[in-house]
Symmetry: D2
Amino acid sequence: MELIEFKPTKEQLNYTFGGAAPVMKIKPGTALKLWSEDAFNNTINKITDLSSEKVDLRFVNPQTGPFYVEGAEPGDALAIHIVDMKPARGHGASSTIPFFGGLTSTDRTAMLQDALPDTTWIYEVNSAKNTVGFQSRFGDFAVELPIECMFGTIGVAPAGGEVRSALVPERFGGNMDSPEVRKGATVYLGVNVEGALFSIGDGHYRQGEGEACGTAVEGAMDSIIIVDLIKGAAPAWPRIENDEFYMAVGSSRPMEDSWRIGQVELIRWFQDLYGLHQMDSYQLLSQITKVPVANVVDANFSVVIKAAKELLPNVSAFKSMHASLKERAKDLKL
Amino acid sequence: MELIEFKPTKEQLNYTFGGAAPVMKIKPGTALKLWSEDAFNNTINKITDLSSEKVDLRFVNPQTGPFYVEGAEPGDALAIHIVDMKPARGHGASSTIPFFGGLTSTDRTAMLQDALPDTTWIYEVNSAKNTVGFQSRFGDFAVELPIECMFGTIGVAPAGGEVRSALVPERFGGNMDSPEVRKGATVYLGVNVEGALFSIGDGHYRQGEGEACGTAVEGAMDSIIIVDLIKGAAPAWPRIENDEFYMAVGSSRPMEDSWRIGQVELIRWFQDLYGLHQMDSYQLLSQITKVPVANVVDANFSVVIKAAKELLPNVSAFKSMHASLKERAKDLKL
Amino acid sequence: MELIEFKPTKEQLNYTFGGAAPVMKIKPGTALKLWSEDAFNNTINKITDLSSEKVDLRFVNPQTGPFYVEGAEPGDALAIHIVDMKPARGHGASSTIPFFGGLTSTDRTAMLQDALPDTTWIYEVNSAKNTVGFQSRFGDFAVELPIECMFGTIGVAPAGGEVRSALVPERFGGNMDSPEVRKGATVYLGVNVEGALFSIGDGHYRQGEGEACGTAVEGAMDSIIIVDLIKGAAPAWPRIENDEFYMAVGSSRPMEDSWRIGQVELIRWFQDLYGLHQMDSYQLLSQITKVPVANVVDANFSVVIKAAKELLPNVSAFKSMHASLKERAKDLKL
Amino acid sequence: MELIEFKPTKEQLNYTFGGAAPVMKIKPGTALKLWSEDAFNNTINKITDLSSEKVDLRFVNPQTGPFYVEGAEPGDALAIHIVDMKPARGHGASSTIPFFGGLTSTDRTAMLQDALPDTTWIYEVNSAKNTVGFQSRFGDFAVELPIECMFGTIGVAPAGGEVRSALVPERFGGNMDSPEVRKGATVYLGVNVEGALFSIGDGHYRQGEGEACGTAVEGAMDSIIIVDLIKGAAPAWPRIENDEFYMAVGSSRPMEDSWRIGQVELIRWFQDLYGLHQMDSYQLLSQITKVPVANVVDANFSVVIKAAKELLPNVSAFKSMHASLKERAKDLKL
């Protein structure tokens, strides 16, 4: 298997899904060793770096990519397996950007109150212990938290000639901010344009479900992924598979619509996997799904619907793509 | 410790929070061995029992209670520890009630489409294996699922003289339909009226997060709970504690508001537990919360926000009430 | 026609729909000359009266009523015709109650920002010009605005034994805060309990659609209404008729659900009025409805759907009740 | 004043805001005599033309434009005055597209119910009476309705390099589907890219507020508009002015957020127009705004907030642009 290494220069970073020329063409089955810049574009590195002063909102969530996958056509499913991830910098950062986040008024949930204080927290990485350190900004409380790397964004070019900001989660993936997009996961995305044009970015050293304050422990990331293609198997919305779960992700507003989208998507998947009638799939999943919220802060809110494999008979999804990618990933190391 | 056994007659069942005379007075610290009827009021017992024919919507979610807790006054916190739960009947039932549920139009999300088919699934209890059996209604698929008992409803009388249907989750608890309300959990509810007037019901042999189709594996339940009181410590919204997590539950519409309520409630709790500034509590919880959806089908949608104790320094909540209740529960068995 | 005058004492005011004993029994067809207290319960009378200091939230939206209507049974429609309204006090008041209103975080749309300043505006009534005077609190701008009296609340006891705060708009009417509930309108409400138990209150000397800041120009009100009954004709949600429009009001959250409820209710009404198929009623109303928002600040948001009579063939609604009530109202004067 | 006539060929039609090359460059102050295709792209012309068979969703809401306005730069306000509109075809059409519309489940409000029947209504234009004819599809009811022409879409290229479908209403205008965008209105849009790149389309011969079934009386349109520029005066969200009202339009989900956006935008405008403090502007508009819903069916829902000029002292907005454009429009005729 081919392993291609790619670390974008500042000029090679992109800030949209769709609308950018591919950084390279790859064949299905290619492994990529990637570096991605943090969501703040490396502008927040100490607690005196305030988002309102340092962050240029035109240049956030810089994307590594897009990659043109040879042979990918609308209607295909792109499979992206995350082999490994680790922090590429010695610290992560989180900020309460004025009028951005889940517990503040925003440009959408518009109100007349003053903004919360623009505050920055720096999380030092302790590689030996595999932790990041939370340190209070208004007191002495400190605690070490396990590093749990994930990608906030993973997506392809949208349909219909649209170009969307890298801050947006949607049908094409994008800024879903789900902790499920981590090592060991295979993400399935429907291809909308020739070459699929996928990219990744917005690495988080850890993130709570919901990403309440609007930013995770944001950090540059080293990663290895394998990219493959399943012809004619495009899901309607992003699906994720790992060793434990089948998952679907809905992204919309209000949040009950995100949930509805994801729940219907998993019902459809289960109809296929187990030959179930729609009503039986609805019933069965009603009794077994786990529903972790992903983000309640982005242009769309994202909700994950997941069903544990251990509760269910063993079947093959997407032609056993996940198992195959795991097998191929065995010898790859960061 | 006093252990009082109570199995309501059909006439003793109640269908509201508030508005019903107490079935008995108990002292704080009392243990109760309870029986609760299923949400359908025992009308759905075979697959030919259709909800549209058998269920009287005036008499659903029958409550065991209300119990008047001596000394409970507005501003106090009621602590209800669930010692144990087990099925009190040999089968559970689930139905897709017309125009009720998460993936159908409803009286609120009103549309013009026809209802989904009114369908009933019966889940036989296998006590030896501790499972319930899912059996397709439109095919041959069958699978045994672990029993994971929980209460759909647990609540007190509302404030302001209101009386609410037992189908409603709100600030007073009620029909939150959260799988977290299970064995080992201590639920904290703010007292609104003298005596608190709490009740429980709507037992589920298992339920997926979201309760997508509108009903869980509904079943009559045997349970033991211990009820205690913490003077002057009323939380604004329901909180839950177990050995692993601190939790808060928000219930409103749209679902992002349920999330906001729960997230703010846990932030407030963490400010108290760890002496944190609001902004530090916001930040810390942003990186560690788990956010399982509870229900997306009731009069309000419910979302749970939870933080793992193992990530955090050891502190005492509600005067160590949870630990105390666990200790007292040791000798109690169903 | 009987004309009964009723001015409640402070002790006779009620603060809920349902749950209160009737202040009197009346026969269908009775005219009532009523006085209603303002929403603040007469606590805000000068700009130094701050809502956070003066208003007791347990005693807001005091209701004049409930009235027991003889012969009213569940399934009937109560028709309440507003003959006339005028200010019963020389000034109205509006306040930005902390964490209440449409452009501030609230207990539901919970956030971490500070409250907007608690500010009071007093509107002097100019009876000669029939205006109220807006006077800036933070500058010199002043303007006279026409008095356009309306009731914020009009409702009956809820179904299912519920008791709801007078702050809540719902299926039973209540705190809809619609400017359409004004002189010349006939409001149709479905009866849920024997006697209907309707009440009115929360008079506004004027109000913008949406009631953005949370309070209108609140004021005590003199009014005359006529109450009548249409057996077996209960609408699912409140309907309103005046000389120009057929209307339906939906109240829920999120606001699109309020809209859906009202739109479906008017579609159902048009199916009956014109013998239309559901799809034709949907289509026709899609091209002619006016949709003024009523409130975006209460426990539920309210949206009015209305269709102009002048666009349509002349038909009789509710057995020509509106025309009959208008005729009967001719000799009644405030 | 220059009057340029432009009727696009089928190949010149565009389907996005942003992402398309300008059809021509014009100077500020130019009058344009335009023809626009209907939203269905002329595929629905008789009742047997079903949307599911005839409409290609990649080619709906065809835009006339984009026009490059010389000198327009980010931060400027584009002013588009609608001088006149009239039907350019002898009939309009409306369809209930499967899983599209306000009272059906959709790809966002995803559910499991069957679609409503795909049905087409044709409205014959009666030029003499200036009406369109509604004719029941499932019965005999028919009625003539006044023609009230409006543009469903009017917008500029989005910010941030985004390209959005012509079905989307947003900060850049777009598919707001507001009946206020009609003859006599001046629409102000913030410019995001050099040349502004505005386009118009989606003409409606009439439409109810909300556009409940998802489509209006869709028809090709002849129109005259005048386009001008106010340097450095970009509003945050679309504003509209006519002889009677100042208006702002918010577009988002859930609908309360659309309302919040529009209400805040009008508050900001009134702070400027009348030198008001934020709290006074909030208060004043709370008592005078009209709030007609525009659409509850598109990718975002749109709500209009409007304040009547007759209630207020006379002031000049956008350097009296509306009055100036009206004056200049006097001699222009369709």
